[in-house]
Amino acid sequence: MNVNSFADAQKSHNTIYPKFHGVVESNEECIPFVKLLDGNESSEILEKRWQLYHQLHSTFHSQVDDILANIETDLKNEISNILLNNNLESRRGKACFKTLFLIGSDSTTEIGFPNVADDNEVNTVIDLTPKESPNVRMMLRRSMFKLFSQTDEILHNNEQELSNSKEITDATESNHIDDMEESKASATSYDLTLVENFKILFKRNLNMVFNIKDVDSFNFTNLNDFIVLLKSALKNEHVRISLVFHINTNLSNIEQNLNQSTLRLLKRKYHKLDVSSNKGFKYGNRIFQSFLDTVDGKLNLSQKFVKFVLEKMSNNTNHNLKLLTRILDFSLMSYFYQSPFSVFIDPVNISYLNEEYLALVSHCPTFMFFIDGLTKEEGTREDITNLLSNANGTLEEFFTEFLVRDNPINGHARYVSNFLEETLHITNFNFIELYYNLLKGTLSTYLDKWPECRLHEKQLSFEPIDTIFQELFTIDNNTGLLTQALFPSYKSNLEDDLLSWEKVLPVSSVIHDDSIADIESLRVLNDSVGPMISEMFKLYREANPVINIYDFYVALRESLPEEQIMNFLIEQSAQDAVLKKFLTSSDKAFEKTVLIFFMQALSDLEHIGVIKLSTTKKSDVVEKSIWKGI
């Protein structure tokens, strides 16, 4: 056994990547879709459907990427605007910090300065993390070290630029630089004197930005003392200090932990910026809008589906946008996967319309409702039968006619949102909620939030109407597929899978593996017993909260088919000397085999967190630790 495999054997778990043995025809593109219409769909249409999906998916994603990239740049601009804007100098000339609170920040937001070479000022960003700040002394030392190294770098670059442009040969000047270097080296002590003497050392003003990350995890006494310490650096005229706090809880939490006098100090010139992208609806609105645009206004979203999106977004406060994109993505995929009519989203494909589709079309509820209306009114008998039987292609024409129509809801939603933004300058509306209310027909109640809207009630009002065939082009969550796939309840799934393993593992009769099929006894064994862990779990489920370990073993032994197992072992032992020895050496071979199974399954169960192995007190029982149904 080599070292690697020994190390592998010590691991508590391994990841196994299945190897693919099948023959791959590399020239054929693999389409993960299956043929719909009971398998009668032609492969040409299948391919079209796949291409269409692929195309929509990539357009949607490129738009989402753009939107997300904009968030970053928007934010960066805003931050550096605040930090570099000197117009807001305190009127009374009293030196104070410029403070910026980034609320909802995950501390990854970078603070950057525009890369403009300024001969009078050095901009430095000093990062502080809770780990690096065990006490004020270390905080000071670290930050001064960073200040020095950054300044050195900046100046060094500048000097290089200078020497590239102008060749400095003047002896006196180089002397002067030497002198400066010397004094620099002698005076570099990593405390506030560096800041104090900055002007003398580097002949520049200093703009320091302290980027305090993950403020919530700081020791607040230290942070408070450090801020007070920095205060004394403010008395130097050449120094400006900005403090950026990354806060991921809320502001009042920070407030409560700092001294009142420190707070007053920070309050003199401060800005708040909410950087969590889920704050406000701006970006969520844009993503949803771009989704509606992607499907060309053809696809409908059902009321249930939009409600589902809204609900799930409110349940997840921090990764809203990711979640929204994921839901929309998955729903689009599942729609194209399951709906044969999805191919007609692109009207060009109407040529593929055939009897199979039309048979389904005529069963559409909206269509039947329409026919119903026709019979009650003065529709002629001939018209109706023509439509129903597609005589002379009437139904086909009818269907095509509706296909090219735009979805009025999408259009109106867009109109309302534009109207709100451009005419009334309302930006804090949730477009998804607006869309939901549009579908419900309660748009006016939603718009009542903004009193300005009452004046334009007529322009904004909208009556939802049922379009014929709309159910064919609707993304819905009525089967609960999205809920199951995106938000699985992992504990109950685990239980279910353990109980009915056939659902997740292939049954032996399905496997056409030659190596297994050869051995008759193995096939019999596979038919009679499932994976050991699920056999154990069945027993476990019926047991009391505390299980005697011996009883557990006996119960397992009794439940296993002795005959089949022994048959298999005996057959195998023909080729395996060790196994043969094991079988013949004792008459309790079966008990021993079961014991091996039992120990394996027991540690498996422990590992997935279903049982507690005994504590030191009682070693003869295991405790159940899973609570059913939660």
């Binding site: 310490l229 004394s232 006098s261 007053r264 997840n316 899973i626």
Partner: protein, 475 residues
């Protein structure tokens, strides 16, 4: 030759005393001097004024607060003296610089070497240098021995050098600090706190100028006809008086704090002055009464509108509903004993209730909420969460559709996401800190939130949390 005594308001006595301890003749000045007085009692101001008035005295000011550690303090002491001497004797500058690096001063004996070397270079000069430690007890890692080192340092040096004398002046806030060194007989000048009248007068002297300027520009803006100067004066003085009257109870006689408050409130006060009320101080006061009611030292108060919006979304503390209910459940887990769980949370009617289920009940002597949170297992949290989380059913009860509805909240991925969020916000925590296996049964949890916050969170979702505790103990 006598020293000039600066005229400092309310500190005449202290300045006088200083002049009797400090003299141009080094034999007449004391080697060590304590100036004791609490924050903002004018120590620094007085001593700076004193030396500014008497430029013939050489002084070096150190701010121990900035040095953080005593190593850095003695380093900066060495450096400051070196710089001072370089300035005083420009001809000896090169000599004083070479081989004398203040950074090498890391221990008190280095400092002595350093000073000895410098004084030897300048052996034919003579001078006394006053070293002012501005707030020695504000040094972060102050200990009892540091001052002893300085006291000894002086002895060692004065023994060697007759020409150079170091005189130390320590500005100290805490009277207890001085009490430790009472056996050294160091003279102490005490700076008592200013009283109310003195504060008012000082603030008016300090701040009148710039506030008055502000007022004039403001009055120009609102286009009033100019008042008599006296009336304008009275507006400013009135404001300062009001602030002092309103907040002196809160800040104590601390000029700095009152000064801050003046700055923070002045703009609002100014904006309340308009053409209708500028002649009437009472109506100005009435209009701006809210600024005198509270210190408003919060960063959030300004954005009052934003917060209202937040509460509309039900996003207090930026938590989702699931996270809020999880936190409430975690609070229950930590503060309600396990034995009461069945009777409090179970919806089953046939469970034995009352005494038979958990034995004889004794009223607890202490409120469990005053104790540390007890630890619990994740499964219990999820079970209680399931019991308290309200599931709204869209279908009418009794219909076939309602059979498909899930009655109870199952712990799906969302729940675990929110749990992870709560954990990273440190609202709930685990007993082990490092390498946590979150799903392992060995991991124990506890809630990390006080009653006030959980009450606020619970009320934001209309959950009457107090009711759950009423049976357990008196509140």
């Amino acid at each position: 030759m006598t020293l000039d005594i600066p005229n400092i308001k309310f500190r005449e006595y202290q300045a006088q005393t200083l002049s009797s301890f400090i003299s141009q003749n080094h034999n007449h000045s004391v080697p060590h001097l304590f100036l004791q007085g609490y924050e903002s009692t004018g120590k620094t101001y007085t001593i700076t004024k004193f030396f500014a008035c008497n430029p013939q005295l050489t002084s070096v000011t150190l701010r121990p607060e900035e040095s953080v550690t005593w190593k850095l303090l003695i380093q900066s002491m060495a450096r400051s003296i070196q710089y001072k001497l370089c300035d005083l004797y420009p001809t000896r500058r090169v000599q004083l610089r070479t081989n004398l690096d203040p950074l090498s001063v890391e221990e008190p004996f280095h400092l002595i070497n350093f000073l000895t070397k410098m004084f030897t270079i300048l052996s034919n000069e003579s001078r006394q240098i006053f070293i002012i430690f501005d707030g020695l007890d504000t040094l972060q890692d102050i200990d009892a021995t540091l001052l002893l080192k300085f006291l000894k340092l002086n002895e060692l040096l004065s023994h060697q050098f007759d020409n150079f004398k170091l005189k130390m002046i320590y500005l100290i806030r805490d009277a207890n600090f001085i009490a430790r060194y009472s056996t050294f007989n160091v003279p102490t000048i005490v700076f008592p706190r200013y009283n109310y009248d003195q504060i008012l007068e000082l603030l008016i002297i300090m701040r009148f100028g710039d506030l008055y300027e502000d007022l004039l520009t403001h009055l120009d803006k609102i286009e009033t006809k100019h008042l008599k100067e006296d009336d304008n004066y009275s507006i400013v003085i009135n404001f300062i008086t009001l602030i002092v009257q309103a907040f002196q109870m809160y800040t104590g006689n601390n000029i700095n704090d009152l000064n801050d408050l003046l700055d923070l409130k002045w703009d609002t006060y100014l904006s309340n002055i308009d053409e209708t009320n500028y002649t009437n101080p009472i109506s100005i006061y009435k209009k701006s009464i809210h600024i005198f009611n509270a210190t408003n030292d919060t960063l959030t108060a300004d954005g009052g509108d934003d917060e209202q919006e937040e509460s509309n979304n039900g996003q207090t503390y930026e938590l989702s509903n699931i996270a809020k209910y999880l936190l409430i459940a975690a609070y229950f887990c930590s503060y309600i004993e396990t034995k009461y769980d069945t009777s409090i949370f179970s919806r089953k009617a046939n469970i034995k209730s009352g005494r038979s289920s958990y034995g004889r009940r004794k009223k607890m002597e202490t409120n469990p909420r005053h104790l540390q949170p007890s630890i619990f297992q994740l499964e219990r949290l999820l079970a209680i969460f399931q019991a308290i989380y309200p599931m709204e059913s869209a279908t009418s009860s009794g219909s076939l559709q309602s059979l498909l509805d899930e009655r109870l909240m199952k712990a799906n991925v969302e729940v675990f996401q929110n749990l992870a969020e709560l954990h990273s916000l440190k609202l709930i925590s685990t007993t082990i800190v490092r390498s946590i296996d979150f799903l392992s049964y060995k991991t124990k949890w506890k809630v990390n939130v006080p009653w006030e916050i959980i009450h606020e969170i619970a009320s934001s979702v209309d959950f009457d949390i107090a009711q759950y505790f009423s049976g357990v103990s008196d509140f």
